[in-house]
């Protein structure tokens, strides 16, 4: 089964994207597997609404482990199962909390084993003065060196996001950058097309 991983800094909308993407692909309920850094695993089943409410949050570091769902996606005449992994938020430097660092390590351990990398940034934060953080630039660098990489410019619904998007596109001409809104579910069709192309 092909694996895809959603990565990015905290609070950019990774979890909300995963849930709403799953819904967009036709799921009414999700079965989510949470794998904690200490090895514990937890399987949970919940409705899309409950997932949005319990798994995504406006406060940072809501997600502190890998949590994945399996989705079947239509390819040609048939269907294909893919695994989508949501991950803990990344942060430059050394986060003071070891449990957050442990969550981040899970991401680093899996990154190279994934066929598809969905890198999300909050493009509304990128007004003209503020640049991408170093870890985002590093992921982009890594991403363009391999197949199956996409950069999602999330929260395009917000004011100022357009300014950030233009700047981003200018700085990274060689990257596939897709503006979208996980909240208002725009751009999901293009993400789906990208995933199909990449598997």
């Amino acid at each position: 089964m092909k694996k895809s991983i959603i990565i990015g800094k905290s609070n950019v909308g990774k979890t909300l994207f995963m849930i709403n993407f799953a819904e967009f692909l036709g799921l009414e309920k999700i079965y989510i597997i949470q794998e904690f850094p200490d090895g514990k695993k937890l399987n949970r089943e919940m409705s899309i609404e409950a997932a949005r409410e319990y798994l995504s949050s406006s406060s940072k570091y809501k997600t502190q482990c890998i949590q994945s769902i399996d989705i079947s996606i239509p390819v040609y005449k048939g269907k294909k199962e893919i695994k989508i992994m949501d991950t803990s938020g990344l942060i430059d430097g050394i986060h003071p909390d070891i449990s957050i660092r442990s969550g981040i390590i899970q991401t680093l351990e899996r990154l190279h084993t994934c066929d598809i990398i969905i890198h999300i940034i909050d493009v509304s934060l990128l007004t003209q003065g503020i640049l991408l953080s170093q870890i985002d630039r590093q992921i982009i660098e890594y991403g363009i060196s391999r197949r199956g990489y996409i950069l999602l410019a999330n929260k395009i619904d917000l004011d100022k996001a357009k300014i950030g998007l233009n700047k981003l596109k200018k700085d990274y001409e060689e990257v596939y950058i897709l503006p979208m809104s996980a909240l208002y579910k725009t751009g999901l069709d293009e993400v789906k097309a990208f995933v199909i192309r990449s598997i």
Binding site: D92, G93, I135
Partner: protein
């Protein structure tokens, strides 16, 4: 290796960025992305920083020479012409506080931007960090430090002390181990040996093999009193303070009394006096009932005081 770096990150010893780099990036990739233009911008701003250092005329000149040399060798290589080997190990001779470490840091960053070194960081060590207490210990210690320094500069302070202690001392073993790693990592590690002028000369005379491996010799002359005053003014300005004329007079006096060979021309001494003056000013102002903005700015003669530690 990769598990190792993850552990370091887990225990908060290295940044995520460094970890990510080690796991996923290769030199080549970095270079493609950096692009020529913005690189030369960086080089320019580092050179400005170097130029802004007070005095050190010969050092500045030498750095320019090295840059030119490296660039020309690169060009020649691109044209498939014969190239000189670029050996950049250095010897820094000079008293404490004459700017050796400061200059080494700048050179490291410069070399990174020029593509000579991958990271350009500096690891500062002294005898105790690389000389062990029993057989085998020294090689291990050297290895550990080298590992940290790969991609950057290993800066060995008071290097002559390695030759101290005679035949049975492990200092000799440390030198051998260092020389070996110079060969092993010749494309990605620069060593700088630093120390007092006289001691370094004796050290090199007793190790002729070493001298040839360190082709670049840089002398850090003692700062003149006027240069030290300029350094003091800059240090104060950078932290938004200002030395009054009387404070400068007092500092001058103080620096002349410290004028023994060990402490003369010492910018570190100046730094300590200046930093202490900020604290003394604070204490003085606390006793005042009204404090003006100018009061906050000014460092007065009474705030300037030597310290018996030097």
């Amino acid at each position: 290796m990769s598990n190792n770096i993850l552990d370091l990150y887990k225990f908060g010893k290295v940044s995520l960025n460094e970890t990510f780099n080690q796991l996923f990036s290769s030199k080549a990739k970095e270079k493609i992305l950096k692009g020529q233009e913005d690189n030369s911008e960086n080089i320019k701003s580092i050179l400005i920083e170097l130029n802004d250092l007070i005095g050190l005329a010969n050092v500045k000149e030498l750095v320019k020479e090295i840059i030119a040399f490296v660039e020309i060798q690169k060009r020649r290589k691109n044209e498939n012409m014969l190239t000189e080997p670029i050996v950049l190990h250095m010897i820094f001779r000079g008293n404490p506080g004459t700017g050796k470490t400061t200059v080494a840091r700048i050179i490291g960053r410069l070399f990174r931007e020029m593509g000579v070194l991958e990271k350009g960081h500096i690891i500062e060590v002294e005898r105790a960090d690389i000389v062990g207490e029993y057989i085998g210990h020294t090689a291990l210690k050297v290895k550990q430090q080298i590992k940290k320094a790969i991609g950057g500069i290993l800066f060995i302070d008071e290097a002559y002390s390695l030759a101290r202690g005679g035949e049975k001392d492990f200092g000799k073993e440390a030198i051998d181990a260092l020389v070996k790693s110079m060969e092993d990592y010749k494309d990605n590690l620069i060593m700088i040996l630093a120390g007092y002028e006289y001691e370094m000369d004796v050290f090199l005379r007793t190790n002729p093999g070493l001298k040839s491996r360190f082709p670049i010799h840089v002398d850090f002359k003692d700062y003149t009193t006027n240069e030290l005053i300029e350094i003091a003014n800059i240090m104060a300005k950078q932290r938004q303070y200002k030395l009054t004329n009387n404070a400068i007079m007092k500092l001058k006096q103080l620096l002349t009394t410290y004028n023994d060979s060990y402490n003369s021309g010492n910018a570190r001494l100046v730094r300590n006096i200046i930093e202490k003056s900020f604290r003394k000013q604070a204490l003085r102002l606390k006793k005042q009932s009204y404090i003006s903005k100018k009061d906050l700015l000014d460092i007065k003669a009474e705030d300037i005081e030597g310290n018996d530690n030097y």
